[in-house]
């Protein structure tokens, strides 16, 4: 799929960034047109990791298809699973027990923190600071250990089942999470010293990759990208699921709409997620962690849609059921796909380095885009 090499008739350079490139975080292929250092056009070429998950799901049962979605946005795999479980529960009208809901939310927020930490490290690398990556990974490792103990896996946890979670939490879970809360609270300020407060970082991100609120909505951006423009978009607030309406947290907003605003939204979301975890960890209700469900699930004829807020934005699952064992048609609305669409609009006319910084703050996960 190598195409468009060389120069244009106006003498602009055409460069293929990716599919193997240090700052595309995966197999993203961008064909960029450069005038000197200035980016004139960015065109994404997708499909290097397209597995046609939607087609695969058409031949998987309602219990099985959930776990394929872990492989889409692998950094918020738990939240993807949660979205899929929600749609099945909606179809079968399964009531998830309180304990199951709280465990799900706890895991989802831990996943969000882990994802944002990884983003923070990788974004630092994109703009040339290597050290944050290791500092972020130290804390992320603690989350992964907690996940491993309870879910049995570190990244693609597959912990959610329709009706609750697969297994009860590990006896050490609460103790470890409490330790982690203490650890991360002391480290967030360190992150501020290491990167956020750095004058070079602020110079590199402020006023870079600006998108207005109208454009962000028009491009279908979601998550921190659109919240950085001050638009209410958090599904946890708009359409609360799994008991998010009972926890206290703020939707984080910035108004500038530039890369630094997106950066600050994510940094503050870590704090908000931490506060959610803090509220719930000592208040996990007793009882069942999983509702009683039939061994074979069959969704009634109809159409079901559920939305969840992943670390990257709005994730949607749309199932059309004909009443059979498998979905008739399934569609995933992935946040990265729409966020990527705005890239050209954001970086047109800025420098290559700005493009890389903007891509960093968009937090693209390529399997999520390609599906």
């Amino acid at each position: 799929m190598i195409e468009e090499v060389g120069t244009t008739t106006e003498g602009d350079l055409i460069i293929n960034v990716g599919p193997q490139h240090p700052s595309t975080h995966g197999v993203l292929h961008l064909v960029i047109t450069l005038n000197g250092e200035t980016v004139k056009k960015v065109e994404p070429h997708l499909g290097y990791i397209h597995r046609s998950i939607e087609k695969m799901c058409e031949s998987l049962s309602y219990r099985q298809f959930i776990y394929v979605t872990s492989r889409m946005d692998y950094l918020s795999s738990h939240i993807n699973n949660q979205g899929c479980a929600l749609v099945v529960e909606k179809g079968l009208q399964i009531e998830v027990p309180e304990r199951g809901k709280v465990i799900r939310v706890l895991m989802a927020e831990l996943t969000r923190i882990a994802s944002h930490l990884l983003w923070w490290g990788a974004m630092g690398m994109d703009i040339g600071a290597f050290t944050p990556f290791f500092h972020a990974f130290r804390e992320r490792e603690a989350i992964n250990d907690i996940m491993e103990e309870t879910c049995g896996a570190r990244l693609t946890m597959n912990y959610v089942v329709p009706g609750g979670v697969m297994a009860d939490i590990h006896p050490n879970f609460q103790k470890k999470v409490n330790e982690f809360i203490k650890l991360l609270k002391s480290k967030i300020d360190e992150y501020y010293i290491l990167l956020t407060g750095n004058i070079i970082l602020q110079e590199r991100l402020k006023g870079v990759g600006v998108i207005s609120a109208e454009d962000a909505i028009n491009f279908g951006c979601s998550g921190p990208v659109v919240r950085a423009c001050g638009v209410k978009s958090d599904i946890r607030k708009i359409a609360p699921y799994d008991g998010y309406e009972k926890v206290k947290f703020d939707e984080v907003f910035e108004t500038a709409g530039d890369s630094f605003a997106r950066y600050m939204v994510r940094m503050n979301e870590i704090r908000q997620s931490l506060s959610i975890v803090e509220q719930l960890i000592d208040n996990i209700p007793e009882g069942e962690f999983q509702a009683k469900t039939k061994a074979v699930l069959k969704l009634p004829k109809g159409e079901f849609y559920s939305r969840v807020e992943t670390a990257r934005g709005e994730f949607g699952v749309y199932i059309i059921s004909e009443g059979g064992l498998t979905p008739y048609r399934i569609k995933f609305r992935s946040p990265g796909f729409s966020n990527l669409a705005a890239l050209h609009h954001m970086v047109k006319g800025s420098k290559i380095a700005d493009m890389v910084a903007t891509m960093g703050t968009l937090d693209l996960v390529i399997p999520d885009i390609d599906r």
Binding site: K55, N218, K232, S233, E303, G316, S338
Partner: protein
């Protein structure tokens, strides 16, 4: 706007539209040729203001195709689902809405790539995920790939 209000409003807009209120949101079933004027109205009317297109799905119903648009208004916080029916399965055509909602550009390319729906007046309608010389549209129900497809 509530479901009922939306329903009356949309009936005025597209008299031929039928409604399905089974799910969480109002479903509007229309014919593909009514889609473009309706999309413009949905986006621009002051009491509708559906500015956020969050999902575009093409569905193969074996005898015909349909394209499902999930729309939300970030200002008025209501959601509507529009299902445009394309009767001609062999040469499915529908007007693009990429000039109304820019996000549709990539979503429509995806639908074209995997389901073969042709979006008229789309600025750049090419295959998105698959290679340019790919034959067939994988998400269609009659697509056969003996090598890679799993059957339950």
């Amino acid at each position: 706007m509530t479901k009922e209000e939306l329903k009356t409003k949309l009936t005025e807009l597209v008299p031929t539209a039928t409604f399905d209120e089974a799910g969480e949101w109002l479903n509007v079933l229309i014919d593909a040729k009514d889609w473009l004027p309706m999309a413009k109205a949905l986006r621009n009317y002051f009491d509708l203001q559906f500015d956020y297109l969050f999902n575009v799905t093409a569905v193969d119903w074996k005898t015909y195709l349909s394209v499902v648009y999930h729309l939300r208004s970030t200002k008025l916080e209501h959601v509507v689902v529009v299902k445009a029916k394309i009767a001609d399965r062999n040469n499915p055509e529908i007007e693009t809405v990429s000039n109304i909602w820019r996000t549709a550009e990539l979503h429509e390319r995806e639908a074209f790539d995997l389901m073969g729906v042709k979006f008229l007046h789309h600025p750049d309608l090419r295959r998105l995920f698959l290679t340019d010389d790919w034959v067939g549209y994988p998400l269609r129900k009659d697509y056969e790939d003996p090598l890679n497809m799993i059957k339950l």
